[in-house]
Each structure stands twice: as structure tokens, then as C-alpha cells.
């Protein structure tokens, strides 16, 4: 448990550092902030007053602390473009993103692990070669193009599924599959190599010498050991899904956090960009911590402090 606690402390530090990084990154172009909110005809005095009101004229480190104070007190401010409260946007879009991201995350493991196991058990068979070639190709196809192909095939041509929209099951299928696609391919490959490594290990030889059935060894011992590296990279899969969500949500018009963030960056709506970057960064960092905790639980060598 010591490890988990120290990782938690590390996570908090990472959160702090990344909040500074995000704040500065978005503020690098600070002067333009008024361009998004005010019409082009606004006078310089008016702009100046606007900046004052938002606190943009204070030293930047002070702005940071003011800003973090407001976030922690639950009032991160409003959007510059439509004046909506950011907290309302978070609950509304966050829910959508959780549905999409959660489904994709589930697909990555529920599809990836069984396929990887199948490939490792039928090594060098046609099934294995098929799965492995497919996963190589799947990793090469950029997901935005895959999204277009999927829309073209399933929405435009076959008419089975809607091409965009929110938030029913039918609308969820295409974006979730596209979002999970590369993660599935990576998980298949990782599962396969971890299974094969475990199958060739000395401890499996010991269990064979102990007369256990091959089936039992595979299901219990090989799989349990192979899961450890897979779990250890689950945090990366979370990050991957968060990153790709920016693209996939934009393509499918899925009103989630990613779409909001991309639009805000394109429109230079900096309070939105800043706040939702922070939210996504926090999500990634906490996801990494959760994955690390899972790894610690799955691995007895780390579980009990030694």
C-alpha cells in the first residue's frame, strides 16, 4: 500500500505541474483573448476594460493562483463565445464523453484480450496470422480516415447506422468502435506476446511437470501472468482514448469534452480551452494512477511491501 500512496502523492504533483503548464500554454497568446469575445469594431479602451475585468492585466503567476482558486471553489467562469457556465458545460458534455470513452475502453479489453489469447493459442495458424495482419493494418489506418470509411459504408451506403449525432445506442456504435480500434489492435498484439512469453516460462514448465492439464495452465497461470503487462499499460490506453476522442468526437459530432475543446481552441475561446484542457489532463493523470493501482494489485511482488 506504500507504493499506492506514494504514487498518489506523485499524481498530485503531476496534476499541479500540468495545471501550470496548461495555464501557461493557453496564455502564451493572451493578447488575442478579446478577439473571440468582442466584435472587431470594439475600441481599444473597451478592450482594455474587458481585460481588466477578466484580470488579464495582472502578473501571470497571480492570475494562475486566482484562476486555480476559482476552479477549486467550483466557479471556473463562463465561455467567451456563448457565455454558458463552464460547470454546466462540464456536466452536460462530460456525461457524453464518459459514455463514449467508457464504451471504447471496455471494447479495447473485451475484444482485444480474447483475440490476443486466441492468436497465442493457435500460434502460426491461419487464425493467428489473420488476426495479426489485421491488427498491423488496423494500427496503420489513421482513425479519422477509418471514421470516414465507416460513415461511408455503414451510414451512406448501407444506411444501417446514423453518421453523426447523439446520444442513443445507435449513434454510439460507430464512434465507439472507431475510438477503440487502435487500442484493440495494440491490446491484441500485447496479449499475444505476453501469453507466448508466459507459455514459454520456467514456471509453466514446472506446472506441466506437475501434471496439470494444458487447459488449466493456460486459463489460470498463463493468463494471470500475461494480464500484468496488459494492466500496466491500461493507463496508456486511457490516455490514448482521451487523445483520440478530440478527433473522433469532432468527426461524429458527438458533443463531448473533446469536441468542445477543439472548437474552443479553433475559436480562441480561452476560458473554455483552459478549463477543458485541465479536465482532460486530470482525467489522464488519474487514469494513470488507477492503472498503476491495478498493476500493484495484480502483481504480488508489489502488493506486499518487500
Amino acid at each position: 500500500m506504500k507504493r499506492t500512496a506514494s504514487r498518489l502523492a506523485y499524481t498530485v504533483i503531476v496534476l499541479f505541474v500540468s495545471s501550470i503548464a496548461v495555464f501557461y500554454a493557453i496564455r502564451l497568446s493572451g493578447g488575442d483573448a478579446t478577439a473571440a469575445a468582442l466584435p472587431g469594431s470594439a475600441t481599444e479602451e473597451f478592450r482594455e476594460e474587458f481585460r481588466d475585468r477578466l484580470g488579464l492585466n495582472e502578473p501571470i503567476y497571480q492570475q494562475y493562483f486566482t484562476y486555480m482558486g476559482r476552479i477549486l471553489s467550483g466557479d471556473p467562469g463562463n465561455s467567451l463565445t456563448n457565455n454558458k457556465a463552464l460547470t454546466d458545460m462540464l456536466t452536460e458534455h462530460g456525461r457524453n464523453s464518459l459514455i463514449l470513452g467508457g464504451t471504447a475502453f471496455g471494447l479495447v479489453f473485451l475484444v482485444g484480450i480474447p483475440l490476443g489469447i486466441l492468436a497465442s493459442l493457435r500460434r502460426n495458424s491461419w487464425a493467428d496470422q489473420g488476426i495479426m495482419s489485421l491488427s498491423t493494418v488496423a494500427m496503420a489506418v489513421p482513425n479519422f480516415w477509418l471514421a470516414l470509411l465507416a460513415v461511408w459504408l455503414f451510414a451512406s451506403t448501407l444506411g444501417w447506422l446514423p453518421s453523426a449525432g447523439c446520444c442513443g445506442t445507435k449513434q454510439l456504435i460507430l464512434p465507439a468502435v472507431v475510438l477503440a480500434f487502435e487500442g484493440i489492435a495494440l491490446t491484441v498484439r500485447m496479449t499475444r506476446s505476453a501469453m507466448i512469453e508466459s507459455q514459454n516460462s520456467d514456471y509453466v514448465r514446472t506446472l506441466r511437470a506437475g501434471g496439470l492439464s494444458e487447459w488449466r495452465i493456460t486459463c489460470k497461470h498463463v493468463l494471470r501472468n500475461a494480464l500484468i503487462p496488459i494492466i500496466s499499460l491500461a493507463g496508456l490506453r486511457i490516455g490514448q482514448i482521451v487523445g483520440y476522442a478530440l478527433i473522433v468526437e469532432t468527426i461524429f459530432g458527438w458533443p463531448g469534452l473533446g469536441q468542445v475543446l477543439v472548437n474552443a481552441v479553433l475559436r480562441r475561446d480561452y476560458p473554455v480551452a483552459q478549463f477543458f484542457s485541465l479536465v482532460l489532463v486530470a482525467l489522464v493523470v488519474l487514469g494513470n494512477w488507477l492503472a498503476d493501482t491495478g498493476y500493484t494489485i495484480a502483481n504480488p511482488r508489489l502488493r506486499k511491501s518487500t
Binding site: T206, G210, G211
Partner: protein, 343 residues
């Protein structure tokens, strides 16, 4: 005289072929397939292990002794090494023709094996108790509590300290020597008739080595097991073996009861091994080593495999492979054996 004295063990039955044989290996051939080529690493090995005797298989690393042991268990690495000929029989039953399930039933129950590296040989994510229990219950119809009792008894026999408390330990919480004791417990828990130990002490500290060996010998004697001990260490051979088979480049070159092998080795390779033992009674003698190197398995010499390193090699030795000739309890693969003298 030599540093390794062969201790006489009073009250012991002299070894020989008068007991019923447990394991009979005849003309065993094993090939390794690599990228493009395949070559033989075990070339017609014949070996017998009887009840209540310890047979040592000695040789340098890479001579095929571990492959021989693994083939008995049916555990040769799949897709890499393969039995290409010969016969392995356990209590008269051929192991090579057995169904997978029948072979599995024999493992741990009738034949069990201990491996060289105890660090990697135990599943790291399960407690040693659960693994022992799983193996016991896959062969015996017993309850979990009974299985744990058997496991504790086996661990105690393997002299693991605080055996009962260790059941819930993970392998990483034990030292190398303790893990090897767990491996021994796993191997003897079901009272097998034959125990194969592949370099069981090589990876351990010298002080632990002696304890483990002593323990193995005690278990073997009290259960009257047959035991095939594979080692490259003549000191180990001298301290536990009843009979010794010396292996060189995939062939058995000499086999003899242990006393005779050390007092009167016949094959020049065996003689070289014994001469190479450091002698602590001579304070500053130069060490002997067998000249030359083991021939690469890809290019075997035309005749006797040892001829390139042999001081007494005749032209005939280069031309034809000598046969293994039997003489009572002894056998020898050499046509020009010379009397042994310590050089």
C-alpha cells in the same frame, strides 16, 4: 590422491542391475531445429535407472543431458527440440507413445522433476500453497484441507523452515534455497517412483547446495525412489551417486558404479574430468584441463566424437564411431582405453 574421496556408505546395497528397472532409455535421439538447419544433440543415449538407486548423468553444459531428462517428462521445448528416435520406457511402458493425458497422469505422481533455476521456476502470482494444492488435487481426489496437509508434510520433508506458515507466501518472499525446497516438496508430495533432478544445486550457494543434496538423498533412500541426477559437478556425483553415466557431445561414453568410476576411469574423457578436479592436498600444482574444445554439434567429427581432444587417438578412432561395449555393470565407448594415472 584426489580431493574428492568416494565415501563408503555402510549398510547399503551394492548398486547394479539386480533390481527391477524403473526407467529404461534406449538409443534415444533428439534433434534441435534452428532457422535453417537441424542437428542432433542427443545421439543414441541408453540409460537405465532402477528402484532405490541414484544414477548421475555427468557432462559439460550443452552435452545433451538436460534434453535427455526433459524428453523423459515429455517436456522438450515444443517446436525447437524433438525426439527423433529411440525408446523411453517407465516400468516397461513406453512413454513416447503415450497419449498426452496418460503422460500427464504420470507426471508428479509417478515421475517428477526438479529444475535448475528455482528463481524462475515458480509461478510468481500464486502462493506456493495454492500451487502445491493444485498439483496434489489434480492427481488425488482429496479435499482442500487434506491437500494442504499433504503439502505441509511435503514441505516439512523438504526441510522448509516454518512449513505451515509458508503456504501463503509468494515465491518472491523466499530465498533461492527455500524456493528449491518448495520445488522438492512439489516433486515428492505425491510419492513418485522416479525423481529427475536437473542440476538442482547449480544455482544455489555452496552451503545450501550440500543441505539440498543431503535432503534429496535422504528422501530418495526412505522412499526407495529411483533418482536420475543430472550435474556437471563431480563433487556432487561423488557424494550421492550409486552409478554414473558420463556424457560427451550427446553420447554416453562411460558408465560404471561410482566407486569404480573414480578409482578406475576407463574413457579418456572421464579420466580428463577426474584429473581436472583441483587437488587441495597439493598446494600449488598447476591445474589440468582437457585440451581442445567440444566439437560444434553442427560439424560432428567423422569417427569418435572425442578423438580431436584425445591424447591416445588412433587412426581407427578417426574413421569409425566406437560402439558402447558392456562388461557387467560397466560400459565404455572407447577402443583404445589406457590405464588411469593421475598426471
Amino acid at each position: 590422491m584426489n580431493a574428492i574421496a568416494v565415501g563408503s556408505r555402510p549398510g547399503e546395497v551394492p548398486s547394479g542391475h539386480d533390481r527391477s528397472p524403473l526407467l529404461e532409455i534406449e538409443d534415444l535421439r533428439i534433434s534441435i531445429a534452428s532457422d535453417a538447419s537441424s542437428f542432433e544433440v542427443v545421439k543414441g543415449v541408453a540409460l537405465t535407472v532402477c528402484e532405490n538407486e541414484i544414477v548421475c548423468l555427468v557432462g559439460e553444459s550443452g552435452c545433451g543431458k538436460s534434453m535427455t531428462a526433459l524428453s523423459v517428462m515429455g517436456l522438450l521445448p515444443r517446436g525447437i527440440a524433438e525426439v527423433t528416435g529411440g525408446r523411453i520406457a517407465f516400468e516397461g511402458q513406453s512413454l513416447l507413445s503415450l497419449q498426452k493425458r496418460e503422460l500427464r497422469r504420470l507426471r508428479a505422481d509417478s515421475i517428477s522433476m526438479i529444475f535448475q533455476d528455482p528463481i524462475t521456476s515458480l509461478d510468481p502470482v500464486f502462493t506456493i500453497g495454492s500451487v502445491l494444492e493444485e498439483v496434489i488435487r489434480s492427481h488425488r481426489d482429496v479435499s482442500r484441507t487434506e491437500a494442504r496437509e499433504i503439502a505441509v508434510r511435503a514441505l516439512m520433508e523438504a526441510e522448509l523452515p516454518d512449513a505451515a506458515d509458508r503456504l501463503d507466501s509468494y515465491p518472491h518472499q523466499l530465498s533461492g534455497g527455500m524456493r528449491q525446497r518448495v520445488m522438492i516438496a512439489l516433486a515428492i508430495a505425491l510419492d513418485p517412483k522416479l525423481l529427475i533432478a536437473d542440476e538442482p544445486t547449480t544455482a544455489l550457494d555452496v552451503t545450501v547446495q550440500a543441505q539440498i543434496l543431503e535432503n534429496l538423498r535422504e528422501r530418495q533412500r526412505e522412499r526407495e525412489m529411483g533418482m536420475l541426477l543430472i550435474t556437471h559437478d563431480l563433487a556432487v556425483v561423488a557424494s550421492v551417486a550409486d552409478r554414473v553415466a558420463v556424457m560427451y557431445a550427446g553420447e554416453i561414453v562411460e558408465e560404471a558404479p561410482v566407486d569404480e568410476l573414480f578409482s578406475d576411469p576407463q574413457h579418456p574423457y572421464t579420466q580428463g574430468l577426474i584429473r581436472a578436479l583441483p587437488d587441495i592436498s597439493v598446494s600449488k600444482g598447476s591445474l589440468y584441463s582437457i585440451p581442445g574444445r567440444v566439437p560444434p554439434p553442427q560439424v560432428p567429427p567423422p569417427g569418435c566424437l572425442f578423438a580431436p581432444r584425445c591424447e591416445h587417438a588412433l587412426d581407427l578412432c578417426w574413421e569409425a564411431s566406437p560402439e558402447l561395449s558392456r562388461d557387467g555393470a560397466k560400459s565404455l565407448r572407447c577402443i583404445n582405453a589406457q590405464p588411469f594415472e593421475i598426471g
